[in-house]
Protein backbone atom coordinates (compact mmCIF):
# COMPACT_ATOMS: atom_id res chain seq x y z
CA UNK A 1 0.00 0.00 0.00
CA UNK A 2 2.70 2.44 1.10
CA UNK A 3 4.77 1.73 -1.97
CA UNK A 4 1.93 2.22 -4.40
CA UNK A 5 0.86 5.51 -2.87
CA UNK A 6 4.43 6.74 -3.01
CA UNK A 7 4.69 5.99 -6.71
CA UNK A 8 1.43 7.66 -7.50
CA UNK A 9 1.91 10.64 -5.22
CA UNK A 10 1.18 13.82 -7.18
CA UNK A 11 4.45 14.94 -8.70
CA UNK A 12 3.64 18.57 -8.11
CA UNK A 13 6.15 20.85 -6.44
CA UNK A 14 9.80 19.95 -6.02
CA UNK A 15 11.23 20.15 -2.54
CA UNK A 16 13.10 23.28 -3.55
CA UNK A 17 9.85 25.02 -4.52
CA UNK A 18 8.33 23.88 -1.27
CA UNK A 19 11.24 25.23 0.66
CA UNK A 20 11.05 28.70 -0.85
CA UNK A 21 7.28 28.72 -0.44
CA UNK A 22 7.73 27.89 3.23
CA UNK A 23 10.31 30.62 3.77
CA UNK A 24 7.99 33.04 2.02
CA UNK A 25 5.12 32.05 4.29
CA UNK A 26 7.30 32.43 7.37
CA UNK A 27 8.29 35.93 6.31
CA UNK A 28 4.68 36.90 5.76
CA UNK A 29 3.69 35.51 9.16
CA UNK A 30 6.58 37.24 10.91
CA UNK A 31 5.73 40.55 9.24
CA UNK A 32 2.09 40.23 10.25
CA UNK A 33 3.01 39.45 13.83
CA UNK A 34 5.40 42.40 14.13
CA UNK A 35 3.01 44.87 12.48
CA UNK A 36 0.11 43.52 14.52
CA UNK A 37 1.98 44.07 17.76
CA UNK A 38 3.03 47.52 16.55
CA UNK A 39 -0.61 48.41 15.93
CA UNK A 40 -1.45 47.27 19.42
CA UNK A 41 1.35 49.30 20.99
CA UNK A 42 0.37 52.43 19.04
CA UNK A 43 -3.27 52.21 20.08
CA UNK A 44 -2.40 51.62 23.75
CA UNK A 45 -0.12 54.65 23.41
CA UNK A 46 -2.97 56.77 22.09
CA UNK A 47 -5.16 55.49 24.91
CA UNK A 48 -2.45 56.46 27.44
CA UNK A 49 -2.24 59.95 25.90
CA UNK A 50 -6.02 60.27 26.05
CA UNK A 51 -5.84 59.31 29.70
CA UNK A 52 -2.98 61.69 30.57
CA UNK A 53 -4.51 64.65 28.75
CA UNK A 54 -8.09 63.99 29.83
CA UNK A 55 -9.64 63.73 26.36
CA UNK A 56 -12.64 61.99 27.86
CA UNK A 57 -14.74 63.35 30.74
CA UNK A 58 -12.68 63.08 33.91
CA UNK A 59 -12.77 59.66 35.53
CA UNK A 60 -14.45 57.81 32.67
CA UNK A 61 -11.31 56.60 30.91
CA UNK A 62 -9.14 54.16 32.86
CA UNK A 63 -5.37 54.25 32.86
CA UNK A 64 -4.08 51.43 30.61
CA UNK A 65 -1.58 50.50 33.29
CA UNK A 66 -4.45 50.08 35.77
CA UNK A 67 -5.97 47.20 33.81
CA UNK A 68 -3.81 44.39 35.15
CA UNK A 69 -4.24 45.47 38.77
CA UNK A 70 -7.97 45.74 38.12
CA UNK A 71 -7.96 42.22 36.73
CA UNK A 72 -6.24 40.98 39.88
CA UNK A 73 -8.78 42.90 41.94
CA UNK A 74 -11.72 41.32 40.15
CA UNK A 75 -10.25 37.86 40.61
CA UNK A 76 -9.36 38.38 44.27
CA UNK A 77 -12.74 39.84 45.12
CA UNK A 78 -14.28 36.61 43.79
CA UNK A 79 -16.43 38.39 41.22
CA UNK A 80 -14.76 37.47 37.96
CA UNK A 81 -15.05 33.69 37.80
CA UNK A 82 -18.66 33.41 39.03
CA UNK A 83 -19.65 36.11 36.53
CA UNK A 84 -17.88 34.34 33.67
CA UNK A 85 -19.35 31.00 34.76
CA UNK A 86 -22.85 32.42 34.91
CA UNK A 87 -22.52 34.07 31.51
CA UNK A 88 -21.22 30.85 30.02
CA UNK A 89 -24.28 28.99 31.28
CA UNK A 90 -26.84 31.07 29.45
CA UNK A 91 -24.44 31.56 26.58
CA UNK A 92 -24.18 27.80 26.13
CA UNK A 93 -27.94 27.27 26.42
CA UNK A 94 -28.84 30.16 24.16
CA UNK A 95 -26.23 29.21 21.59
CA UNK A 96 -27.15 25.55 21.46
CA UNK A 97 -30.91 26.10 21.39
CA UNK A 98 -30.66 28.76 18.71
CA UNK A 99 -28.24 26.66 16.67
CA UNK A 100 -30.24 23.44 16.83
CA UNK A 101 -33.55 25.14 16.09
CA UNK A 102 -32.08 27.23 13.29
CA UNK A 103 -30.52 24.14 11.76
CA UNK A 104 -33.65 22.03 11.96
CA UNK A 105 -36.04 24.72 10.71
CA UNK A 106 -33.62 25.81 7.98
CA UNK A 107 -33.15 22.20 6.86
CA UNK A 108 -36.88 21.41 6.83
CA UNK A 109 -37.71 24.61 4.98
CA UNK A 110 -35.06 23.82 2.40
CA UNK A 111 -36.22 20.26 1.72
CA UNK A 112 -39.98 20.50 2.18
CA UNK A 113 -42.01 22.64 -0.21
CA UNK A 114 -45.11 22.93 1.99
CA UNK A 115 -43.17 23.77 5.12
CA UNK A 116 -41.11 26.25 3.13
CA UNK A 117 -44.16 28.09 1.87
CA UNK A 118 -45.73 28.04 5.32
CA UNK A 119 -42.76 29.58 7.07
CA UNK A 120 -41.72 32.15 4.49
CA UNK A 121 -44.18 34.91 5.34
CA UNK A 122 -43.77 34.29 9.05
CA UNK A 123 -40.01 34.60 8.73
CA UNK A 124 -40.43 37.87 6.83
CA UNK A 125 -42.45 39.29 9.69
CA UNK A 126 -40.33 38.05 12.59
CA UNK A 127 -36.87 38.44 11.10
CA UNK A 128 -36.54 42.25 11.42
CA UNK A 129 -37.35 42.24 15.15
CA UNK A 130 -34.08 42.71 17.05
CA UNK A 131 -33.40 39.96 19.59
CA UNK A 132 -33.27 42.54 22.38
CA UNK A 133 -36.84 43.57 21.69
CA UNK A 134 -37.77 40.17 23.10
CA UNK A 135 -36.30 41.06 26.48
CA UNK A 136 -39.73 42.22 27.62
CA UNK A 137 -41.20 38.80 26.96
CA UNK A 138 -38.15 37.07 28.35
CA UNK A 139 -38.83 38.77 31.68
CA UNK A 140 -42.56 38.12 31.49
CA UNK A 141 -42.16 34.45 30.67
CA UNK A 142 -38.99 33.40 32.44
CA UNK A 143 -38.60 36.12 35.07
CA UNK A 144 -34.99 37.00 35.80
CA UNK A 145 -33.29 33.70 35.05
CA UNK A 146 -30.77 31.90 32.91
CA UNK A 147 -33.66 30.75 30.79
CA UNK A 148 -34.69 34.34 30.05
CA UNK A 149 -31.20 35.35 28.98
CA UNK A 150 -30.75 32.14 27.00
CA UNK A 151 -34.04 32.82 25.23
CA UNK A 152 -32.93 36.27 24.08
CA UNK A 153 -29.53 34.97 22.97
CA UNK A 154 -31.04 32.07 21.09
CA UNK A 155 -33.17 34.35 18.90
CA UNK A 156 -30.26 36.04 17.17
CA UNK A 157 -28.41 32.74 16.85
CA UNK A 158 -31.51 31.09 15.43
CA UNK A 159 -31.79 33.50 12.50
CA UNK A 160 -28.14 33.26 11.60
CA UNK A 161 -28.30 29.46 11.48
CA UNK A 162 -31.66 29.31 9.84
CA UNK A 163 -30.57 31.40 6.85
CA UNK A 164 -27.16 29.76 6.56
CA UNK A 165 -28.62 26.25 6.66
CA UNK A 166 -31.45 27.07 4.30
CA UNK A 167 -29.23 28.40 1.57
CA UNK A 168 -26.50 25.80 2.08
CA UNK A 169 -29.00 22.96 1.72
CA UNK A 170 -30.59 24.58 -1.30
CA UNK A 171 -27.19 24.73 -2.94
CA UNK A 172 -26.30 21.06 -2.58
CA UNK A 173 -25.54 19.70 -6.03
CA UNK A 174 -28.71 17.89 -7.21
CA UNK A 175 -26.56 15.32 -9.00
CA UNK A 176 -25.68 13.84 -5.61
CA UNK A 177 -29.37 13.17 -5.00
CA UNK A 178 -29.54 11.36 -8.34
CA UNK A 179 -26.57 9.28 -7.22
CA UNK A 180 -28.40 8.38 -4.02
CA UNK A 181 -31.37 7.17 -6.04
CA UNK A 182 -29.18 5.25 -8.46
CA UNK A 183 -27.88 3.21 -5.52
CA UNK A 184 -31.23 2.88 -3.79
CA UNK A 185 -30.14 5.07 -0.90
CA UNK A 186 -33.09 7.45 -1.13
CA UNK A 187 -34.75 7.12 2.28
CA UNK A 188 -35.14 10.57 3.82
CA UNK A 189 -32.92 9.89 6.83
CA UNK A 190 -30.28 8.22 4.65
CA UNK A 191 -30.24 11.09 2.20
CA UNK A 192 -30.16 13.68 4.96
CA UNK A 193 -27.11 12.20 6.66
CA UNK A 194 -25.26 10.89 3.61
CA UNK A 195 -25.88 13.72 1.15
CA UNK A 196 -27.68 16.79 2.44
CA UNK A 197 -25.76 17.53 5.64
CA UNK A 198 -22.27 16.79 4.34
CA UNK A 199 -23.07 18.57 1.08
CA UNK A 200 -24.21 21.64 2.99
CA UNK A 201 -21.60 21.31 5.74
CA UNK A 202 -19.37 24.21 4.84
CA UNK A 203 -22.30 26.65 4.68
CA UNK A 204 -23.87 25.27 7.85
CA UNK A 205 -20.59 25.47 9.74
CA UNK A 206 -20.05 29.05 8.60
CA UNK A 207 -23.48 29.83 10.06
CA UNK A 208 -22.73 28.12 13.36
CA UNK A 209 -19.47 30.02 13.60
CA UNK A 210 -21.20 33.33 12.99
CA UNK A 211 -23.71 32.32 15.67
CA UNK A 212 -20.91 31.73 18.18
CA UNK A 213 -20.02 35.42 17.76
CA UNK A 214 -23.59 36.64 17.48
CA UNK A 215 -24.41 35.05 20.84
CA UNK A 216 -21.81 37.22 22.58
CA UNK A 217 -23.27 40.32 20.98
CA UNK A 218 -26.65 39.73 22.56
CA UNK A 219 -25.34 38.19 25.77
CA UNK A 220 -24.24 41.40 27.46
CA UNK A 221 -27.45 43.19 26.60
CA UNK A 222 -29.55 40.19 27.64
CA UNK A 223 -27.91 40.32 31.06
CA UNK A 224 -29.11 43.87 31.51
CA UNK A 225 -32.40 42.31 32.50
CA UNK A 226 -30.61 41.44 35.73
CA UNK A 227 -29.28 37.93 35.22
CA UNK A 228 -25.89 37.54 36.89
CA UNK A 229 -22.97 37.47 34.51
CA UNK A 230 -20.33 39.54 32.78
CA UNK A 231 -22.82 42.09 31.53
CA UNK A 232 -24.23 42.66 34.99
CA UNK A 233 -20.74 43.02 36.49
CA UNK A 234 -19.86 45.58 33.82
CA UNK A 235 -22.99 47.49 34.60
CA UNK A 236 -22.31 47.39 38.31
CA UNK A 237 -18.68 48.45 37.84
CA UNK A 238 -19.70 51.35 35.59
CA UNK A 239 -22.22 52.40 38.23
CA UNK A 240 -19.45 53.00 40.76
CA UNK A 241 -17.10 54.54 38.20
CA UNK A 242 -14.77 51.51 38.05
CA UNK A 243 -14.14 51.83 34.35
CA UNK A 244 -10.93 49.84 34.59
CA UNK A 245 -13.01 46.85 35.69
CA UNK A 246 -15.33 47.44 32.72
CA UNK A 247 -12.35 47.18 30.41
CA UNK A 248 -11.24 44.01 32.18
CA UNK A 249 -14.60 42.39 31.39
CA UNK A 250 -14.48 43.61 27.81
CA UNK A 251 -11.10 41.99 27.34
CA UNK A 252 -12.32 38.81 29.03
CA UNK A 253 -15.15 38.58 26.49
CA UNK A 254 -12.68 39.05 23.68
CA UNK A 255 -10.43 36.35 25.11
CA UNK A 256 -13.22 33.81 25.56
CA UNK A 257 -14.56 34.49 22.09
CA UNK A 258 -11.07 34.18 20.61
CA UNK A 259 -10.54 30.81 22.28
CA UNK A 260 -13.95 29.51 21.17
CA UNK A 261 -13.48 30.67 17.63
CA UNK A 262 -10.07 29.06 17.50
CA UNK A 263 -11.41 25.76 18.85
CA UNK A 264 -14.27 25.97 16.37
CA UNK A 265 -11.93 26.55 13.46
CA UNK A 266 -10.00 23.41 14.43
CA UNK A 267 -13.20 21.37 14.50
CA UNK A 268 -14.36 22.89 11.25
CA UNK A 269 -11.03 22.14 9.61
CA UNK A 270 -11.32 18.53 10.67
CA UNK A 271 -14.92 18.15 9.48
CA UNK A 272 -14.09 19.72 6.13
CA UNK A 273 -10.72 18.00 5.74
CA UNK A 274 -11.91 16.51 2.46
CA UNK A 275 -11.87 19.87 0.76
CA UNK A 276 -8.96 20.47 -1.60
CA UNK A 277 -6.36 22.69 0.03
Amino acid sequence: MKRISAIHAPAGKTSEDEHSVQTGNLLIHARRLVLGLAGLVVSVGVWKLAYEFNWAPRGTLPDPSAIFPALRGEIESGRLFPAVGSSLIHYAWGLSMGTVLGLVVGLLAAVNRIFDDMQRLLARILRPIPPLAWVVFAIAWFQVSHAGAAFVISIGVFWVNYFATYSAVRNVDPRFYELARAFGRNRFVDVTFAITLPGAASGILAGIRTGVGQAWMTLIAAELLGVPGIGQEMNAAAGVGAYDAVVVYMLIISLIYGLMDFAFSLGEGWLLRWRPA
Partner: protein, 263 residues
Protein backbone atom coordinates in the same frame (compact mmCIF):
# COMPACT_ATOMS: atom_id res chain seq x y z
CA UNK B 1 -38.26 -7.90 -29.01
CA UNK B 2 -37.18 -8.33 -32.57
CA UNK B 3 -33.44 -7.68 -32.44
CA UNK B 4 -31.39 -10.74 -33.33
CA UNK B 5 -28.95 -12.38 -30.99
CA UNK B 6 -25.52 -11.17 -31.85
CA UNK B 7 -23.25 -12.96 -29.44
CA UNK B 8 -22.86 -15.83 -31.82
CA UNK B 9 -24.37 -18.16 -29.26
CA UNK B 10 -27.95 -19.18 -29.02
CA UNK B 11 -30.27 -16.28 -28.22
CA UNK B 12 -29.70 -15.03 -24.71
CA UNK B 13 -32.46 -13.62 -22.57
CA UNK B 14 -33.22 -9.94 -22.69
CA UNK B 15 -32.36 -8.52 -19.26
CA UNK B 16 -33.30 -4.88 -19.75
CA UNK B 17 -35.26 -3.06 -22.38
CA UNK B 18 -37.91 -0.58 -23.33
CA UNK B 19 -40.77 -0.88 -25.82
CA UNK B 20 -42.59 2.03 -27.46
CA UNK B 21 -41.00 4.19 -24.85
CA UNK B 22 -41.35 7.95 -24.65
CA UNK B 23 -40.17 10.57 -22.22
CA UNK B 24 -40.63 14.31 -21.82
CA UNK B 25 -39.03 16.45 -19.14
CA UNK B 26 -42.07 18.69 -18.69
CA UNK B 27 -45.74 18.27 -19.39
CA UNK B 28 -46.52 19.82 -22.74
CA UNK B 29 -42.89 19.89 -23.85
CA UNK B 30 -41.81 17.95 -26.91
CA UNK B 31 -40.72 14.42 -26.00
CA UNK B 32 -36.98 13.76 -25.98
CA UNK B 33 -37.68 10.34 -27.48
CA UNK B 34 -40.78 8.45 -28.46
CA UNK B 35 -41.57 5.08 -29.94
CA UNK B 36 -38.20 3.94 -28.77
CA UNK B 37 -37.34 0.23 -28.70
CA UNK B 38 -34.16 -1.01 -27.21
CA UNK B 39 -32.98 -4.17 -25.54
CA UNK B 40 -29.96 -5.50 -23.78
CA UNK B 41 -29.26 -9.22 -23.45
CA UNK B 42 -27.46 -11.08 -20.71
CA UNK B 43 -23.72 -10.63 -21.00
CA UNK B 44 -24.03 -8.34 -23.99
CA UNK B 45 -21.99 -5.17 -24.52
CA UNK B 46 -24.15 -2.64 -26.33
CA UNK B 47 -23.15 0.89 -27.17
CA UNK B 48 -25.61 3.69 -27.65
CA UNK B 49 -24.25 6.42 -29.92
CA UNK B 50 -25.69 9.66 -31.23
CA UNK B 51 -24.98 13.35 -31.43
CA UNK B 52 -24.89 15.46 -28.33
CA UNK B 53 -28.30 16.44 -27.01
CA UNK B 54 -30.10 13.65 -28.86
CA UNK B 55 -31.27 12.04 -25.63
CA UNK B 56 -28.74 9.30 -24.80
CA UNK B 57 -28.41 10.28 -21.15
CA UNK B 58 -32.16 10.55 -20.84
CA UNK B 59 -32.59 7.01 -22.15
CA UNK B 60 -29.93 5.81 -19.75
CA UNK B 61 -31.65 7.50 -16.80
CA UNK B 62 -34.91 5.83 -17.76
CA UNK B 63 -33.22 2.45 -18.02
CA UNK B 64 -31.61 3.05 -14.64
CA UNK B 65 -35.00 3.76 -13.11
CA UNK B 66 -34.02 7.34 -12.33
CA UNK B 67 -36.74 8.78 -14.59
CA UNK B 68 -40.18 7.29 -15.14
CA UNK B 69 -41.20 6.64 -18.75
CA UNK B 70 -44.14 8.70 -20.01
CA UNK B 71 -45.31 5.95 -22.28
CA UNK B 72 -44.35 2.43 -23.24
CA UNK B 73 -42.93 -0.31 -21.11
CA UNK B 74 -39.69 -0.90 -19.33
CA UNK B 75 -38.75 -4.42 -18.46
CA UNK B 76 -36.05 -5.54 -16.18
CA UNK B 77 -35.65 -9.28 -16.07
CA UNK B 78 -32.89 -10.09 -13.62
CA UNK B 79 -33.14 -12.24 -10.57
CA UNK B 80 -32.97 -10.34 -7.29
CA UNK B 81 -30.07 -11.69 -5.29
CA UNK B 82 -29.50 -10.92 -1.64
CA UNK B 83 -26.58 -8.52 -1.21
CA UNK B 84 -26.65 -7.18 -4.75
CA UNK B 85 -28.42 -4.71 -6.99
CA UNK B 86 -29.75 -5.71 -10.36
CA UNK B 87 -28.43 -2.71 -12.26
CA UNK B 88 -25.97 -0.01 -11.48
CA UNK B 89 -24.76 3.21 -13.03
CA UNK B 90 -21.46 4.88 -13.94
CA UNK B 91 -21.82 8.60 -14.54
CA UNK B 92 -19.96 10.78 -16.99
CA UNK B 93 -18.80 13.07 -14.18
CA UNK B 94 -17.71 10.15 -11.94
CA UNK B 95 -19.86 11.74 -9.24
CA UNK B 96 -17.79 10.79 -6.25
CA UNK B 97 -18.97 12.26 -2.96
CA UNK B 98 -16.13 14.67 -2.11
CA UNK B 99 -16.68 14.22 1.63
CA UNK B 100 -16.06 10.48 1.51
CA UNK B 101 -12.75 8.75 0.89
CA UNK B 102 -12.32 6.48 -2.11
CA UNK B 103 -13.22 3.51 0.10
CA UNK B 104 -16.18 5.39 1.56
CA UNK B 105 -17.49 6.21 -1.90
CA UNK B 106 -17.39 2.60 -2.94
CA UNK B 107 -18.99 1.56 0.33
CA UNK B 108 -21.82 4.05 -0.27
CA UNK B 109 -23.60 1.82 -2.78
CA UNK B 110 -22.99 -1.28 -0.70
CA UNK B 111 -24.32 0.23 2.53
CA UNK B 112 -27.91 -0.22 1.41
CA UNK B 113 -27.54 -3.97 0.92
CA UNK B 114 -27.75 -5.20 4.51
CA UNK B 115 -24.24 -6.63 4.64
CA UNK B 116 -22.05 -6.79 7.73
CA UNK B 117 -19.26 -4.29 8.17
CA UNK B 118 -16.66 -6.92 7.36
CA UNK B 119 -18.45 -8.00 4.19
CA UNK B 120 -18.73 -4.38 3.08
CA UNK B 121 -15.06 -3.82 3.63
CA UNK B 122 -14.21 -6.96 1.65
CA UNK B 123 -16.37 -5.75 -1.22
CA UNK B 124 -14.49 -2.46 -1.28
CA UNK B 125 -11.10 -4.17 -1.45
CA UNK B 126 -12.31 -6.62 -4.06
CA UNK B 127 -13.45 -3.95 -6.52
CA UNK B 128 -10.52 -1.65 -5.78
CA UNK B 129 -8.20 -4.40 -6.86
CA UNK B 130 -10.37 -5.01 -9.91
CA UNK B 131 -9.75 -1.43 -11.08
CA UNK B 132 -6.10 -1.42 -9.91
CA UNK B 133 -6.65 1.17 -7.20
CA UNK B 134 -5.91 -0.82 -4.05
CA UNK B 135 -3.52 1.75 -2.63
CA UNK B 136 -6.09 4.52 -2.84
CA UNK B 137 -8.67 3.39 -0.34
CA UNK B 138 -8.07 6.22 2.12
CA UNK B 139 -7.54 9.02 -0.38
CA UNK B 140 -9.96 11.90 -0.92
CA UNK B 141 -11.57 12.26 -4.35
CA UNK B 142 -9.98 15.69 -4.71
CA UNK B 143 -6.57 13.96 -4.82
CA UNK B 144 -7.49 11.82 -7.83
CA UNK B 145 -6.93 12.39 -11.53
CA UNK B 146 -9.85 12.18 -13.94
CA UNK B 147 -8.97 8.62 -14.94
CA UNK B 148 -8.60 7.51 -11.33
CA UNK B 149 -11.95 9.07 -10.43
CA UNK B 150 -13.61 7.11 -13.22
CA UNK B 151 -11.97 3.91 -11.99
CA UNK B 152 -13.47 4.55 -8.57
CA UNK B 153 -16.85 5.29 -10.16
CA UNK B 154 -16.65 1.95 -11.94
CA UNK B 155 -15.56 0.20 -8.76
CA UNK B 156 -18.54 1.70 -6.91
CA UNK B 157 -20.88 0.40 -9.61
CA UNK B 158 -19.34 -3.06 -9.47
CA UNK B 159 -19.31 -3.30 -5.68
CA UNK B 160 -23.06 -3.92 -5.62
CA UNK B 161 -22.49 -6.96 -7.89
CA UNK B 162 -24.90 -5.93 -10.62
CA UNK B 163 -25.78 -8.01 -13.66
CA UNK B 164 -26.34 -4.84 -15.68
CA UNK B 165 -24.11 -1.78 -15.75
CA UNK B 166 -25.28 1.42 -17.41
CA UNK B 167 -22.45 3.75 -18.33
CA UNK B 168 -22.93 7.32 -19.53
CA UNK B 169 -19.89 8.45 -21.50
CA UNK B 170 -17.64 7.32 -18.68
CA UNK B 171 -14.38 7.99 -20.51
CA UNK B 172 -15.21 11.17 -22.38
CA UNK B 173 -13.32 13.41 -19.95
CA UNK B 174 -10.05 11.48 -19.75
CA UNK B 175 -7.01 11.74 -22.00
CA UNK B 176 -6.61 9.40 -24.97
CA UNK B 177 -3.99 7.12 -23.45
CA UNK B 178 -5.83 6.67 -20.15
CA UNK B 179 -8.99 6.11 -22.12
CA UNK B 180 -7.44 3.14 -23.91
CA UNK B 181 -6.30 1.64 -20.63
CA UNK B 182 -9.74 2.11 -19.14
CA UNK B 183 -11.42 0.58 -22.19
CA UNK B 184 -9.29 -2.53 -21.94
CA UNK B 185 -9.77 -2.79 -18.19
CA UNK B 186 -13.50 -2.48 -18.72
CA UNK B 187 -13.50 -5.26 -21.31
CA UNK B 188 -11.61 -7.49 -18.88
CA UNK B 189 -14.09 -6.83 -16.10
CA UNK B 190 -17.05 -7.21 -18.44
CA UNK B 191 -16.07 -10.69 -19.54
CA UNK B 192 -14.90 -11.80 -16.11
CA UNK B 193 -18.11 -10.73 -14.40
CA UNK B 194 -20.42 -11.65 -17.30
CA UNK B 195 -22.02 -8.23 -17.23
CA UNK B 196 -24.58 -6.81 -19.56
CA UNK B 197 -23.28 -3.33 -20.36
CA UNK B 198 -25.09 -0.42 -21.95
CA UNK B 199 -22.40 2.03 -22.87
CA UNK B 200 -23.31 5.54 -23.99
CA UNK B 201 -20.71 7.29 -26.07
CA UNK B 202 -20.48 9.77 -28.90
CA UNK B 203 -17.23 8.22 -30.10
CA UNK B 204 -17.82 5.73 -32.92
CA UNK B 205 -14.35 4.22 -32.66
CA UNK B 206 -14.87 3.60 -28.98
CA UNK B 207 -18.19 1.95 -29.74
CA UNK B 208 -16.84 -0.31 -32.48
CA UNK B 209 -13.89 -1.37 -30.36
CA UNK B 210 -15.93 -2.25 -27.29
CA UNK B 211 -19.31 -3.44 -28.42
CA UNK B 212 -21.14 -6.54 -29.50
CA UNK B 213 -23.81 -4.32 -30.91
CA UNK B 214 -24.18 -0.61 -31.57
CA UNK B 215 -27.41 1.34 -31.49
CA UNK B 216 -27.59 4.72 -33.16
CA UNK B 217 -30.01 7.27 -31.76
CA UNK B 218 -31.25 10.11 -33.89
CA UNK B 219 -34.16 12.30 -34.84
CA UNK B 220 -36.40 14.49 -32.80
CA UNK B 221 -38.13 13.01 -30.93
CA UNK B 222 -35.31 10.48 -30.96
CA UNK B 223 -35.57 6.82 -31.87
CA UNK B 224 -33.10 4.05 -32.53
CA UNK B 225 -32.37 4.65 -36.21
CA UNK B 226 -29.74 1.98 -36.72
CA UNK B 227 -28.81 -1.31 -35.08
CA UNK B 228 -25.35 -2.55 -36.01
CA UNK B 229 -24.29 -6.03 -34.86
CA UNK B 230 -20.53 -6.27 -34.59
CA UNK B 231 -20.43 -10.06 -34.63
CA UNK B 232 -18.06 -12.16 -32.58
CA UNK B 233 -14.49 -11.04 -33.08
CA UNK B 234 -11.22 -10.56 -31.34
CA UNK B 235 -10.79 -7.02 -30.15
CA UNK B 236 -7.54 -5.78 -31.56
CA UNK B 237 -6.65 -2.14 -31.95
CA UNK B 238 -3.76 -2.84 -34.33
CA UNK B 239 -5.86 -4.75 -36.82
CA UNK B 240 -9.12 -3.00 -37.26
CA UNK B 241 -10.60 -5.27 -39.91
CA UNK B 242 -12.51 -4.18 -42.97
CA UNK B 243 -15.81 -5.42 -41.56
CA UNK B 244 -15.30 -3.17 -38.56
CA UNK B 245 -14.45 -0.23 -40.75
CA UNK B 246 -17.54 -0.80 -42.83
CA UNK B 247 -19.63 -0.90 -39.66
CA UNK B 248 -18.12 2.39 -38.50
CA UNK B 249 -18.97 3.82 -41.90
CA UNK B 250 -22.61 2.74 -41.63
CA UNK B 251 -22.92 4.10 -38.10
CA UNK B 252 -21.40 7.37 -39.10
CA UNK B 253 -23.82 7.80 -41.99
CA UNK B 254 -26.74 6.79 -39.78
CA UNK B 255 -25.75 9.54 -37.36
CA UNK B 256 -25.03 12.09 -40.05
CA UNK B 257 -28.13 11.22 -42.06
CA UNK B 258 -30.47 11.96 -39.21
CA UNK B 259 -29.26 15.00 -37.39
CA UNK B 260 -26.40 16.21 -39.55
CA UNK B 261 -24.26 16.22 -36.46
CA UNK B 262 -21.74 13.49 -37.26
CA UNK B 263 -18.66 13.20 -35.16
Amino acid sequence: MSSPAVTGEATRAVVLGVENASYRYRKGAAPVFSDLDLSLRAGEFVSLVGGSGVGKSTVLRCLAGLLPLDGGRLHLDVERIEGSRRRSVVFQDSRLLPWRTVGGNIAYGVEGLGLSKGERSDRVDEVLSLVNMLGYRDRWPSDLSGGQSQRVGIARALAVRPKIVLMDEPFSAVDALTRRHLQDELLGIWSERELAVLFVTHDIREATYLSDRILVMGGSPARVVHDEPMGRRSRDRAHEDTAQEAAAERISSAMGGIDGEGI
